[in-house]
Every structure is written in structure tokens, then in C-alpha cells.
């Protein structure tokens, strides 16, 4: 029953990441398109345009990174890992998951401190800049949960960490 609930939460996080990324991308698309049109009409201007673009781009990046983290699809070099015996591969996976957990915890805790201490208000929209910075600790906290689970699985000898994703070029 607990496992079923956890799986539902996991799927919900996956959906939030997916639709958050799609929504941010569409939002950026329309904003930039409007910016081009507005530039051609001298009477018009969009106030706070830069601030919304920054908000959407930051959230798109960190939600996308969380999705890749969750799927074990962050880009990595798997050549060595695939060519070593199983006990060494397992040790490498434990190390990798530990380091991922460390980065995620720094993002969560130090990111929260940074958000709390920043105390900035955006110049045009007059909104707390914390909504922008929240992308780091919020996704960092979830990454930490996934890495803790990944580390637990690795310590129990289960295959974890995914095969790594591809990168553009």
C-alpha cells in the first residue's frame, strides 16, 4: 500500500516535470514572439518581459534536470562502468549515487538559505525574487529523495542509476 502511494507520488512528480517544462517552453515561445512583434510597433512595450523570461527559463532548466535525474538520464560516460566486473561496477554506482545525493543536498539546503537571505524584489513586476530562486532548492530536495532511494538500491546490490542520456551536438 505504501509502495503504491509512493509510485503514485513518483508519477505525479514526473507529470509535474513534463507539463512544467512544456508550459515554460510554450510560455517562452510566445513571449519572445511577442517581443519581436512589439519591437516593430514603436508604441508598444512589454514591462517585466526580462523577469518573466528568466523565471520560465530557470524553472524549465531545473524541472527538466529533475526529470532527467529521476529517469537516470543525465548525460554521463558509461564506457568504463560497462567494462568492469560486477563488484567494481556496484562500487562505482554507490560512489556516483553518493555524489549525486551530496549535490542535491547542497542545492536543497544552501539553495533554501540563499532564497531566505536574498530578500530581493523584482524591479518591474515587484514580485519576491524568491519564486525565481525557489527552482534550485525545490528541485534539489526532490533530487535528494531520488538519490537517497538510488543509493539505498545500490547498497542492496540492485541495478540503479540508469544508462545515462544523450546530449545534443
Amino acid at each position: 500500500m505504501i509502495l503504491g502511494a509512493l509510485q503514485r507520488v513518483d508519477r505525479a512528480i514526473g507529470s509535474i516535470c513534463k507539463w512544467g517544462v512544456i508550459g515554460s517552453l510554450l510560455g517562452l515561445f510566445f513571449l519572445l514572439l511577442v517581443a519581436v512583434i512589439v519591437r516593430m510597433v514603436p508604441m508598444l512595450s512589454i514591462s517585466g518581459y526580462d523577469e518573466i523570461v528568466e523565471l520560465l527559463f530557470a524553472w524549465m532548466t531545473f524541472l527538466g534536470a529533475l526529470a532527467l535525474w529521476r529517469e537516470g538520464a543525465l548525460y554521463r560516460v558509461v564506457l568504463l562502468e560497462q567494462s568492469v566486473p560486477e563488484p567494481i561496477r556496484r562500487a562505482i554506482t554507490v560512489l556516483s549515487q553518493t555524489l549525486m545525493l551530496l549535490l542535491a543536498l547542497v542545492m536543497a539546503f544552501k539553495g533554501y538559505e540563499f532564497l531566505r537571505d536574498a530578500g530581493e524584489i523584482t524591479p518591474f513586476l515587484g514580485i519576491d525574487k524568491g519564486y525565481w530562486y525557489l527552482a534550485v532548492p525545490a528541485t534539489g530536495a526532490l533530487m535528494a529523495v531520488y538519490s537517497a532511494a538510488g543509493l539505498w538500491s545500490a547498497l542492496r546490490g540492485e541495478r540503479t542509476g540508469g544508462d545515462g542520456g544523450t546530449i545534443l551536438g
Binding site: 560516460v77 539553495g111 545534443l168
Partner: protein, 432 residues
């Protein structure tokens, strides 16, 4: 010793399979902690966040989106048909068609992977049907895809421009002649192989009316480079806005002109484009605090001294940089190398007086060669997957083409005018 420790830790973590973004972040955290203390970690977060806020980098998701929309929206096979019309008749014609189609596609997409994955399917199918071996077809598809990010628009140029604070427009212009040279180099190798292996001649050219029909069908797609590059060079749009226009145009063409793009495809295309963008952007974000650490620890200066103790001749230093980048490209994907190596390389190239625009072309060309060098080359994997030809078979066949690409790289490295002439002529202020 501390400097060597930082760089060796990063290399070791990457080789051990730690995700590149995580390796960069953890090494930056460790260095900050050891050098000053945990209080410096606020800077880590600040740099990590700031790494995602560069306006020029916003071009990345939209060039990715444009490439994905074109691959789904029916543009790729029409571009292939035009290339076939132009060079399809000569011996080994479909090999030449493959290269020319990639050059045309390059003017619309900024990614080698989009070329290999999208156009590659059409190219390999046509070549196999015409009697070419699957191995030959797959190999040419892989090598020709590397032209994509050299001929503008280009995602690696957008990233380099943002890192080096160099005009993306100037970089786009600087890539045109090198991209054409890459195409010619590959066609030369294909011509030699076609003669030696007596490869088939293409079919007779279609009648004039048929030719007009083929060009007419592809014309709206072929107009995209004019729209994107014309918009940038006439100063109507920035490269970021041009990417948005390209994505919008690709959507309109696929949906309403060619009618091959369904609205049901759109969420998956947007999701895939967002994921691919996040893959790159998370590495860029994690590289920002790492770059800060490198500069704080004066690591570029230490490497500069080490390099100058070997030689102070610019041509030797450029040769060493090229060799190092080619070697790295055999194991790590290009964009990751670009982001990691750039803060280290910038002071070196400034010291030896290389124009940053010229160096942008050198580094991106290097990294594109890395996409097709075994054992780790993303375009090799993509083409191997779509052609069902093993990686070993493609790797065995690829060497003559790699030699041609390396020859072009050396030509570009030692004749800066090949890159700088066009930006200079069109008024982009590059250092001569």
C-alpha cells in the same frame, strides 16, 4: 598540487560514470569547502542559478524545437529530393546527395544529432534501396551530420558565443566557409571510393517539369535559412529571436503547408525538446560555479605556464589544443567538452593572439569530429541504431572520412581568413 587535484578529480569522476553536471558541481563544492569553508557555498548556489539566466542561451530550446518539428513535419525527405536532383546522377551519387542534403539541412537545424536522427532515416533508406551497402550508407550519414552545427544556425556556436561573450551572428557567418569545405572534403573522399568500388550511377535526371515540382515542394523549407540568417544579419532579430521564428515557421510549414504534423505530436515534440535543452543547460549551470573556482584558483594561468614551457609558438599551441580536443572527443560528447574546457582555453588563445571567433570555429569543428570518433561518438550511436549496422562496422569504415575532416580542421586552424573573411566583409568587428 591542489590545482592538479581539482582537474584529476573531475576527470576521474567523469570517467567513473558520474553524470557530468554532478561531477562539475561536486568538484566545485569540494574546492570551495577546502579552499575557504562552507560559507562559500552561497556563491555556489548563486553561480548555479546565474548559469541558467543567459539570454543568448535561450536560442538552444528553439533551435532544438525547430529541428524536431522539421523531422516530424515532412521537410527532411523534400530536402533530400532536391539534393538528389542536383548531384544524384554522378557515380556514387547518393553518397554525394547524402552530404549535400546535410548541408542544406544545416541551414535550418543547429544540431548534428537532429540531422543524423531525422534526415539520416531518409538517407539510409534511399541508399539501401539503390543498392548501396548498409555500412557505406550509415557511415556517410554519420560523417555528413557533423556539418550541421558548422553551417549556421548552430547550437554549439550559441553556447560558445555565450561563454566567450562573442557575437553569435559573427560566429554563424564564420562557420559558412568551413562548413562548405567540410562538405567538399567529404564529397572528394566519396568520389574516390565511388571510382575504386565502381559504385552505381544515379538515375537519369527527371524532365524539367518534374524538377520544378521537386524544387517547388521543398522551396518553403529551403526558405528557412533565408528567414533565420537574413533576419539576424539584417538586424531585424537577435539569434535567440531567430530561433523562435525558425521554430514557429517549422510548425506552420509542418502543420498547414505540408500537413504532416499532427497536433497530437506536439506535446511529445515539446517535451523532447525541453528534455534535450535541460540536458545541456544543467551542465552549463553546474559549470558556472566550476568556472568560478577555476578562476579563483588561477588554474588557467597555471595551465598557460605549463603549455608555454613546452612551446610559445602559436602554431604548436594550436596543434596541442586540437590534439587534446580530438582525444577528449573520443570519450566525451562535444557540448560537455566545450563547457568544461572553455574557461581553461580562453586565456591561452587570448595570449597567443587567436581571434575568439576563429577559435570558436576551431573548437566546434573539433567537437563535431568527436561526434563520429569511436569509441564514444553520439552520431555513431544514433546512426548505428537507425541503420542496424554495428558500431564496429561503421567505425572500421569511417577513417578516410575522418582524415578528410581533420584535414579541413587543420586548414581552418592555420588559415584564419577562411573563417574570418565573411564576418569581416559583412561588418562584424573581428580582430584581424
Amino acid at each position: 598540487m591542489f590545482v592538479a587535484g581539482i582537474l584529476l578529480s573531475l576527470c576521474a569522476l567523469i570517467l567513473l560514470g558520474t553524470p557530468i553536471a554532478v561531477a562539475l558541481g561536486v568538484v566545485a563544492i569540494g574546492t570551495m569547502w577546502v579552499a575557504v569553508g562552507p560559507e562559500l557555498l552561497a556563491i555556489f548556489i548563486q553561480r548555479l542559478y546565474a548559469g541558467t539566466t543567459s539570454f543568448p542561451l535561450l536560442a538552444i530550446p528553439f533551435f532544438v524545437l525547430a529541428g524536431n518539428l522539421m523531422n516530424t513535419g515532412g521537410m527532411t525527405h523534400r530536402i533530400f529530393n532536391v539534393a538528389h536532383l542536383i548531384v544524384g546522377r554522378i557515380r556514387g551519387g547518393l553518397g554525394h546527395v547524402n552530404v549535400l542534403a546535410s548541408m542544406l539541412f544545416s541551414g535550418m537545424s543547429g544540431s548534428a544529432v537532429a540531422d543524423a536522427a531525422g534526415l539520416g532515416v531518409v538517407e539510409i533508406k534511399a541508399m539501401k534501396e539503390a543498392g548501396y551497402s548498409a555500412r557505406f550508407s550509415a557511415t556517410i550519414t554519420a560523417v555528413s551530420s557533423t556539418i550541421g552545427p558548422i553551417i549556421p544556425p548552430s547550437i554549439p556556436f550559441v553556447i560558445y558565443g555565450s561563454l566567450a561573450n562573442v557575437s553569435v551572428g559573427a560566429l554563424f557567418l564564420a562557420g559558412i566557409v568551413p562548413g562548405l569545405l567540410m562538405g567538399l572534403g567529404l564529397m572528394l573522399v566519396i568520389a574516390l571510393i565511388a571510382k575504386r568500388q565502381n559504385l552505381p550511377m544515379g538515375e537519369a535526371r527527371p524532365p524539367f517539369g518534374g524538377a520544378i515540382k521537386i524544387v517547388g515542394a521543398a522551396a518553403p523549407a529551403l526558405a528557412m535559412p533565408l528567414l533565420v540568417l537574413g533576419g539576424i544579419f539584417l538586424g531585424i532579430v537577435t539569434p535567440t529571436e531567430a530561433a523562435v521564428v525558425a521554430a514557429g515557421y517549422a510548425f506552420l510549414l509542418g502543420r498547414f503547408w505540408y500537413r504532416e504534423l499532427s497536433m497530437r505530436d506536439l506535446p511529445d515534440i515539446l517535451w523532447e525538446s525541453g528534455r534535450q535543452t535541460a540536458q545541456v543547460m544543467f551542465i552549463i549551470a553546474a559549470a558556472a560555479p566550476f568556472g568560478w573556482v577555476l578562476i579563483q584558483q588561477q588554474i588557467p594561468n597555471a595551465l598557460l605556464d605549463a603549455l608555454f614551457s613546452l612551446s610559445s609558438e602559436p602554431w604548436v599551441i594550436l596543434l596541442i589544443i586540437n590534439a587534446a580536443l580530438l582525444l577528449l572527443g573520443m570519450f566525451i560528447e562535444g557540448i560537455a567538452i566545450l563547457i568544461i574546457a572553455f574557461p581553461v582555453l580562453l586565456p591561452i588563445i587570448m595570449k597567443i593572439g587567436v581571434d575568439p571567433v576563429h577559435f570558436g570555429v576551431i573548437i566546434v569543428l573539433n567537437l563535431m569530429i568527436g561526434l563520429v570518433t569511436p569509441p564514444v561518438g553520439l552520431c555513431l550511436y544514433v546512426v548505428s541504431s537507425i541503420s542496424r549496422v554495428s558500431l564496429t562496422e561503421i567505425s572500421a569504415e569511417i577513417w578516410p572520412y575522418l582524415l578528410a575532416l581533420v584535414a579541413v580542421l587543420l586548414l581552418i586552424t592555420y588559415v584564419p581568413e577562411l573563417s574570418l573573411w565573411l564576418p569581416h566583409v559583412l561588418g562584424y568587428g573581428v580582430i584581424q
